[in-house]
């Protein structure tokens, strides 16, 4: 089992690599197709994983991962639990602007509110952006792919004057303030 490190390998020219981590494996493939099909002037490689840590066999062939996207389905409790377990295995260097959360099912009435609240608190404590996606329609998946691609370009260093750390401090998830002004802990 190897843990990926953000700066242990050399970057390739005009290339960005993203790792999609999802326990269920449902949205990964569609999202990967949508990302690759987006019009862009850079080479994008999408790697898929069901959880971290990644197996050691592919260590040499694996390029430098610029962005790790954790896909969480709010329909199942198990998705959130496995994401939290995977997070513990991720190298801390990634949390400076190279991690992002993608959440599906946030609008469904059958989802207990506590799950989204705890996920927001988690994302806020890690200073990571939290994206909401609609995974059942093609437009939803392509919109999610566009947003992931925007963040990927920044964290791969392909946007001048903007770094992943800067973007994450601007776009990170915040937990809303309480009605009487105190911050929720």
């Amino acid at each position: 089992m190897s843990s990926i490190k953000p700066f242990s390998k050399l970057p390739q020219l005009n290339t960005a690599n993203v790792l999609l981590v999802e326990n269920e494996g449902k949205l990964q493939n569609d999202l990967a197709d949508a990302i690759v099909r987006q019009e862009s002037n850079i080479n994008v490689t999408v790697r898929l994983a069901r959880g971290l840590p990644l197996p050691a066999e592919n260590e040499e062939n694996r390029p430098r991962i610029d962005l790790v996207v954790f896909i969480v389905h709010l329909f199942s409790e198990h998705s959130l639990v496995s994401t939290e377990n995977s997070l513990k295995q991720l190298d801390t260097g990634y949390f400076l602007g190279k991690v992002c959360f993608l959440v599906t099912g946030a609008r469904c009435g059958l989802v207990p509110d506590e799950r989204l609240v705890s996920l927001r608190k988690l994302a806020a404590s890690l200073h990571c952006p939290l994206l909401f996606a609609e995974h059942q329609t093609r437009e939803g998946v392509s919109t999610a792919a566009q947003r992931v691609l925007k963040i990927l370009r920044v964290s791969a260093g392909l946007v001048p004057m903007v770094t992943g750390l800067y973007l994450s401090s601007v776009s990170r998830c915040t937990v809303p303030l309480d009605s009487d002004g105190s911050v929720q802990d």
Partner: protein, 343 residues
């Protein structure tokens, strides 16, 4: 005089402060600019206790029937004193709609008789409005006086232990009866809802029971086991695998009680159940299943909880058979309805 006054004041303040010190977790999802208070998801509830002051005849209206739940926004100028007038207006409305061609039922010509009634004793606090029951009887066109009338549709509005801040923040003409239960043909339910919407400027919406509500119900009913035997604890999950699996898991009541009491052994004297205990209970039930079948039940959705005290389904239907423990269930459902309300 003053001594009497203070004696009546103290229990109430104790109760309200007791409620405030129950764990509360705040959510701002329903915090719209017009709302005066942010509603909170409670993280602990009182232990269920038996209530003996409800008229068993009136309870018989509610028990053993499968009700479809909805939430209702507050009703404008609804008066509990004008129920007879409302009965007449609603029956006239149904007849008029039927004549317009909005078919109620294809069948022999029938008249409808609507009866509104109040069921006393179901409220928990002074702010709760009294429960209102509606029954629609069908009268065959050529009936003889005194012949048996059949109940075609029944429904009720209730508010049990509603959120005090919310109720006090409502303007004075509004009555809050957030939980609406209906049983009968969908067409009549739609007619009744549209009449209420027109008369009292309210909005009905579907109330679905999410998995944390169902988990609370499972825990509350298990808690009642020593007092009245629940006979079984049946849980149903829906796993979105290929092919989709429906799993029905029945737990022997004594085993469920042993598990629950072992989780609660530290604070069995306390009056409230916290959500952590409920989650722990469900996790242990799920991990037992995993040990035998190697399947994660938490990856699916909890759809149904059944005991001999009642059953609840995630799409918003509930059936209550044990009328003595009806109050905790209604409290839970009222909170659920209040949380779902758009305002």
């Amino acid at each position: 005089m003053e001594a009497q006054e203070s004696a009546t004041m103290t229990p109430r303040t104790n109760v309200t402060s007791g409620r405030r010190c129950l764990g509360l977790e705040k959510t701002n999802f329903r915090y719209t600019p017009g709302q005066l208070t942010a509603l909170r998801i409670p993280t602990s509830r009182r232990k269920p206790s038996k209530r003996n002051d409800i008229d068993p005849e009136q309870m018989a209206y509610i028990a053993n029937i499968e009700w479809k739940l909805s939430y209702v926004t507050p009703l404008y100028q609804f008066r509990h004193t004008q129920l007879v007038l409302y009965s007449k207006q609603l029956s006239a409305f149904i007849v008029a709609e039927k004549q317009k061609g909005i078919a109620v039922e294809v069948g022999p010509e029938m008249g409808f008789k609507v009866v509104f009634s109040v069921v006393h004793g179901m409220t928990e606090t002074d702010e709760d409005a009294e429960t209102v029951f509606i029954k629609i009887y069908s009268k065959p066109a050529f009936s003889v006086e005194g012949s048996a009338v059949k109940v075609v549709w029944s429904g009720w509005f209730t508010c049990v232990n509603g959120n005090l801040d919310y109720m006090r923040s409502l303007p004075s003409d509004f009555v809050s009866l957030p939980l609406f239960c209906a049983n009968g043909p969908m067409s009549i339910t739609a007619l009744v809802k549209s009449w209420f919407t027109r008369m009292f400027d309210c909005y009905f919406g579907p109330l679905s029971l999410n998995s944390s509500i169902l988990q609370w119900l499972a825990a509350l009913w298990t808690e009642c086991h020593p007092a009245c035997n629940i006979r079984y604890l049946k849980l149903a999950w829906n796993l979105s695998t290929l092919p989709p699996l429906d799993i029905s898991y029945t737990v022997h009541p004594q085993d469920a009680w042993n598990l629950w009491s072992s989780i609660r052994q530290n604070d069995s004297m306390e009056d409230s159940i916290s959500i952590e205990k409920v989650r722990c209970f469900m996790k242990r039930v799920e991990s037992h299943f995993f040990r035998h079948f190697r399947m994660y039940l938490s990856a699916g959705m909890l759809t149904r909880v059944c005991t001999s005290l009642g059953s609840a389904h995630c799409d918003g239907t509930i059936k209550i058979t044990g009328t003595h423990y009806i109050t905790p269930v209604l409290m839970l459902l009222t909170e659920c309805a209040l949380l779902k309300m758009p305002i």
